[in-house]
Amino acid sequence: MRTCLSDAVAPSVWKASRRVLERCGVQVRVPRAQTCCSQPAWTTGQADQARAVARHTLEVFAGPEEVVVPSGSCAGMVVHAYPEMFRGHPEEETALDLARRTIELTQFLQKHDLDPGPGTSGPVTMHDSCHMLRVMHESASPREALTRAGCELREMHGTDRCCGFGGVFSITFPELSARLGEEKARAAVESGAPEVVSCDLGCLMHVAGVAHRRGIPLRARHIAEVLDG
């Protein structure tokens, strides 16, 4: 799954994810017809509109393969929210099936003990995105992947704290969102690493955007790009 944010802002993220997987010997198919997991509509409370888009996603990802997502948030959407979204609908079984087959990129690497080889070396700090941490319940797999790739991990203070992105929240409560983003950017800089890495592009766009506006020197890259080297 490419994710819509990657399509909109950073195609390099899904392309890097594909290369990382292929380097591990995984046969990768990136369905051209895919669009979005529908999270923006779902979390705004527009369930019917979300379902219409999610239904398309169910169709595109029908089939027995595992679905790897370079985002804890989009993966969490499929795994956690699809079952609720389609409860009592004709697609309920299909949704449950896709939820079972869906997994975040670094979780997939860990699950199958895959090693893409050396990526970018050097110090990085890792931001645990909320949905990776509290929906996918994962904090170990990205760290293991980074260490394996040759990165030196410098943990920041409050790595599990929300960066304030929150999807549509970031534009409905911009000041509050930016306050949290600034705290995150400063915590990242204080870790001593020049670059923040995360499994979620949304958090990174937001934190990097706030850092740039406030003149905080911080680089940001998606974990797939770091693993890709």
Binding site: A8, P11, A41, R55, E84, R134, C162, F165, H212
Partner: protein, 462 residues
């Protein structure tokens, strides 16, 4: 002198430290009773946080399912103990009853202990309008009363004020500069001022942390001892309870009373646990002559059997507030409702109805980070409830977003239109980008660039 002690059976109960350690382990391993005893003990002491939460969740879910029966039992037992029970459909009815009672009994001063339910039913306004003096006796609540503010936290209402601000309020109230500004001095000052009020109060009003149906007992936990005075000193005690705050029996109560202070402030047990069953009985030395339990529905009953039912499990510990990055950034008062934080954002729209001003956007003030659900000691999936609350909200903003998302959905469910959107968006970013960054976006993107830049290239250029 032999240190050996023998049981009746004559077996050595405490083996002497002769023999090797390994021999002693072998000896101990042969004792099945011992192992059983130790396992039982360990299980009762070392209950993990997860296990405690699971049990608390199960208890509370069951309570809510059986609520009508529990409330009937509670009501019957309180009456048996000589108390009066009033069921109020809404806050106004509850406030009316209490104010009417105070008037009828000629009460001029009411002493209150900390209670969010009385905030909810706007009791202070009602009593004050009737010319009755209301004194908050919880230290934090008293500070807020002096400041003319509302609680910013369920448990720690004045947590947003610092020592200096508190000292200034106390000086103003006392009409003298002779108020110390160290912690102990401030508390001592408040203690003296408040004791005077207890002596004058004809009615004490408290909240209820838990009602225990099997005995008709209300439990009030606190750390300052003021609730004990409020519930025992004045002639009349009125306890105000949200209808969902009832458990079946003491087994359940014991567990919840342990979970509550732990989740609230990391305390193993509250300093004071007041257990009150009816008014003073014959032969008892103290306690009120009258006990009234006011059970408030206020929109709660209608939530049973809905997708929001789990919110009724809440024990008002405030753990979700402290876990919430939004609450930590703005404090509880910004929410504009008695209940703030994630639980407030969920239940306020439910209790006040979707049309109330506070209800329109409260559920949207969350990044859905899920820290609240993780912190909740009774396992309420708060982030899911927030999403459901958003779906239920109705305001000009939600209607605009419905229109926008209808268009979005038509474009994004088809690959061709979706790809066109994305290509157009990327072109726009490139066109507007300077040095890798866009500083002004049109339309809904304006909210983004108001406070931050948007990278036109990825990875973003430093």
């Amino acid at each position: 002198m032999s240190t050996r002690r023998r049981r009746a059976s004559g077996r050595v109960a405490y083996p002497d430290a002769h023999g090797t350690l390994r021999e002693r382990t072998v000896q101990a391993l042969a004792d099945d009773t011992l192992r059983g005893n130790l396992e039982t003990a360990a299980a009762s002491w070392g209950e993990s946080r997860d296990a405690m939460r699971d049990r608390a969740r199960d208890i509370r879910r069951r309570n809510i399912r059986e609520l009508p029966a529990l409330l009937s039992e509670m009501q019957a037992k309180v009456r048996e103990a000589g108390g009066t029970v009033v069921r109020a459909q809404d806050g106004a009815e509850a406030a009316r009853y209490i104010t009417g009672l105070a008037r009828a009994r000629g009460v001029t001063v009411v002493a209150k202990s900390k209670s969010m339910a009385t905030e909810e039913i706007k009791l202070n306004e009602s009593l004050t309008d009737a010319g009755i003096e209301v004194v908050e006796t919880d230290l934090g609540e008293w500070i807020l009363q002096l400041a003319g503010e509302r609680p910013s936290h369920i448990i720690a209402p004045a947590v947003h004020l610092n020592r200096g601000q508190v000292a200034a309020l106390f000086r103003e109230e006392a009409g003298t500069d002779d108020v110390p500004d160290d912690r102990e001095g401030l508390v001592a000052h408040a203690r003296v001022r408040l004791r005077e009020k207890f002596a004058q109060a004809g009615m004490g009003v408290s909240g209820v942390n838990l009602g225990v149906a099997s005995t008709g007992t209300v439990c009030i936990v606190e750390n300052e001892g003021n609730a004990r005075l409020v519930t025992s000193q004045p002639r009349i005690h009125v306890a105000v309870m949200g209808m969902e705050r009832v458990v079946a029996d003491w087994d359940e109560a014991a567990h919840i009373l342990q979970v509550l202070p732990m989740a609230a402030i990391g305390q193993d047990a509250a300093n004071y646990v007041n257990l009150i069953t009816g008014p003073r009985r014959e032969g008892e030395a103290d306690g009120p002559e009258e006990f009234h339990l006011v059970i408030v529905d206020g929109g709660r009953g209608a939530l049973r059997g809905t997708e929001f039912e789990e919110a009724l499990s809440c024990i008002r510990c405030g753990a979700c507030l402290y876990s919430c990055p939004m609450w930590k950034s703005v404090g509880g008062q910004a929410y504009g409702s008695p209940y703030s934080g994630p639980i407030g954002a969920v239940i306020t729209p439910l209790l006040e109805g979707p049309a109330s001003p506070a209800s329109r956007d409260l559920p949207f003030m969350s990044s859905l980070c899920g820290a609240c659900g993780e912190a909740c000691p009774v396992g309420i999936p708060l982030q899911d409830l927030l999403v459901r609350a958003r779906a239920r909200a109705s305001s000009p903003a939600t209607r605009r977003s419905a229109v926008a998302f209808r268009a979005w959905s038509r474009l994004w469910r088809r690959p061709t239109t979706y790809r066109a959107c994305m290509a157009g968006w990327r072109l726009m970013l490139r066109a507007r980008g300077k040095g890798g960054w866009v500083t002004r976006l049109p339309g809904p993107g304006a909210g983004w660039t108001q406070v931050r830049d948007m990278p036109s290239h990825w990875p973003p250029r430093p």
